[in-house]
Amino acid sequence: MKQFLAFVKKEFRHILRDKRTMLILLVMPIVQIILFGFAVTTEVKNVNTAVFDPSKDAATRQIIEKFKASPYFIVTEELTDFNLINDVFKYGKVSLVVVFSENFADNMLHTGEASVQLIADGTEPNQASTLINYASGILQSYQQEQMERYNAPFQIIPEIKMLFNPQMKSAYNFVPGVMGMVLILICAMMTSIAIVREKESGTMEMLLASPIKPIYIILAKAVPYFTLSVLNLITILLLAVFVLGVPIAGNLFWLILLSLLFIFLALSLGLLISTLVDTQLAAMLISGMALMMPIMVMSGMIFPIDSMPTILQWLSSIVPARWYIAPVKKLMIQGVAVQYAAKEFIILAAMTFFLIIVSLKKFKTRLG
């Protein structure tokens, strides 16, 4: 035990000595959480919209008024010619054009042939589908009002309730993802060079020649990084609540326990990388560059896992961040009981166990 503590002290000194790196490690997560917490969002508002209205009757005017009143759209152009639609899109003036058919009000009431065409700029598919969705919502609510006004038969009136996030804040969805991504990448990057640096500088021989067991060498390396990561976790959670306005609706204890488990997993991942490669360059490139993309894309942080092809859904299950982001959403935002996150706890624990076993197996006690 005494030997182990001495090792831990040595590792702490290594880290504390390098003030610049320390500063980077503590400040970087703060800046990233704030920047991404605000900037990674898909909320749509104040979208420039053009209207082509050949009818100019009461009904179309009421609909246009509804568009103007909506926070999502600003009607910037009233087109006089159908052919102008191509131009406004080409020059990027608007993202949505609402096209009414002729004799709209009349047809709406009598022939049933009235129609509205919504044309969205599809270069940003996600924004386009959200726009069409909001615009259809406005049109449907107008139609519903008219139905009620004329007391039309067979009306099915939906009451829509948004659970957990009534204001539809994008941050509720993205902040857990940003937390997971920042934690795992920074933790893995920190530790990935821990062992390989000793190899490169030649001090590894001394460690191996000492009477301490390999597992303690590895654990001693993890302790100071774990401490740093806990500091980061605290700042990240504080920022999420007080700056980004994401509530902690559930039990804080379980949220922290989950995060500690995840940090431990990330550190083990870093250590594994460190035992597998021979140079700092390779360790850094794997942990910083090669891990970044799969984590951003496959963890469910930005792109919903349900929408991926089945094979990729399986593949995404080896991305550890996936099993952190999903339960954080449950525990932090939905505030559900911890048993609903039991599966994720077990998976994270199993992954950590696996990584530690493999790093121990791969940790070479002989050089050359």
Binding site: L35, V40, G112, S129, L139, M168, I193, M296
Partner: protein
Amino acid sequence: MLKFLIEKEFKQIARNSFVPKIIIGMPLVMMLILPWAANQSIKNVNICVVDNDRSVFSERLINKIASSGYFKLSDAASSYNSAMKSIESGSADIVFEIENGFEEKLFRENAARVMISANAVSGIKGGLGSSYLASILTDYAAELREAYAKSAVIANTAIPTFGIAAQYKFNPRLDYKVFMVPALMVMLLTMIAGFLPALNIVGEKEAGTIEQMNVSPVKNHIFILSKLIPYWVIGFVVLSLCLVLAASVYRLYPSGSVLTIYLFAGIYILIVSGFGLVVSNYSNTMQQAMFVMFFFVMVFILMSGLFTPIASMPDWAQNITAFNPLKYLMQVMRMVYLKGSSFSEMIPQFLALGAFAVVLNGWAILCYKKSS
């Protein structure tokens, strides 16, 4: 002189057991796997039904929802509270509750209510799911009206209806791959042409070989050029590989000119490599260089409009993106691939990228000090 220095750099890159693998491996993996995953469209929304009416009408409505191809009926619950359990466990995304007396009210009072409660932690999923469900209801109501069209009530009342049709310009099938593949190329270029140079000079510092450089008569700009040119060549190799993969795997061809892509990418690689060299100059250890680079690359990627639109960001964040070179090249790539824009339409991007290239590489030359 320059020729030999460049030769040295290439030899060092080729000799490294890891770097060549990553130069070829990263583009292959990223281009082959990520476009399939990078899809924000919402599919397979799980829905839990609470049918308090159990009538012919409510059953037909449920069948209609199930057969829409958009929703999966995960389970049926006897009450709203037990349905909420499915939401909490994550097995359902939406609870759809039909009120008692649904069918009767439709006949007697002309209107009946249903309740849609969506898990809105993901605003997109909750929002799109519930509004799509609402449009199924509208369709169903129209079907009912049609079925009972001959009855006296309907024949005598005006029913205000209009059709709603959606259309997407430039990307009619709303294909995410067309959107993501050109952007992924930019991301790859940023990573490979950014990280590798960032680790280069500082690597020489750590290995101690920088001393030999410092005592040689090599001029600053020659030294920086010798570091820059190899990554420029590598960048072009990566880009060409990406273009070939996009064409052969995804059948994606730029609607505009390939030359425009190469022109803009050529400037862009200089920017990121120059930036990497600046970072490298200021760092003492590879770890520092890597962390700083990592920080900026993440900011560049997440604040470029690559995954989430810039228009959605708050104003101060949108102002920051003006200093993000990745944003400009990504705009260019998407414009060339999707809209077939030509050079004259992209002059603002050209000027912005040019300015970045001059400033960053000038800085790289100036901040390299031979004596410490």
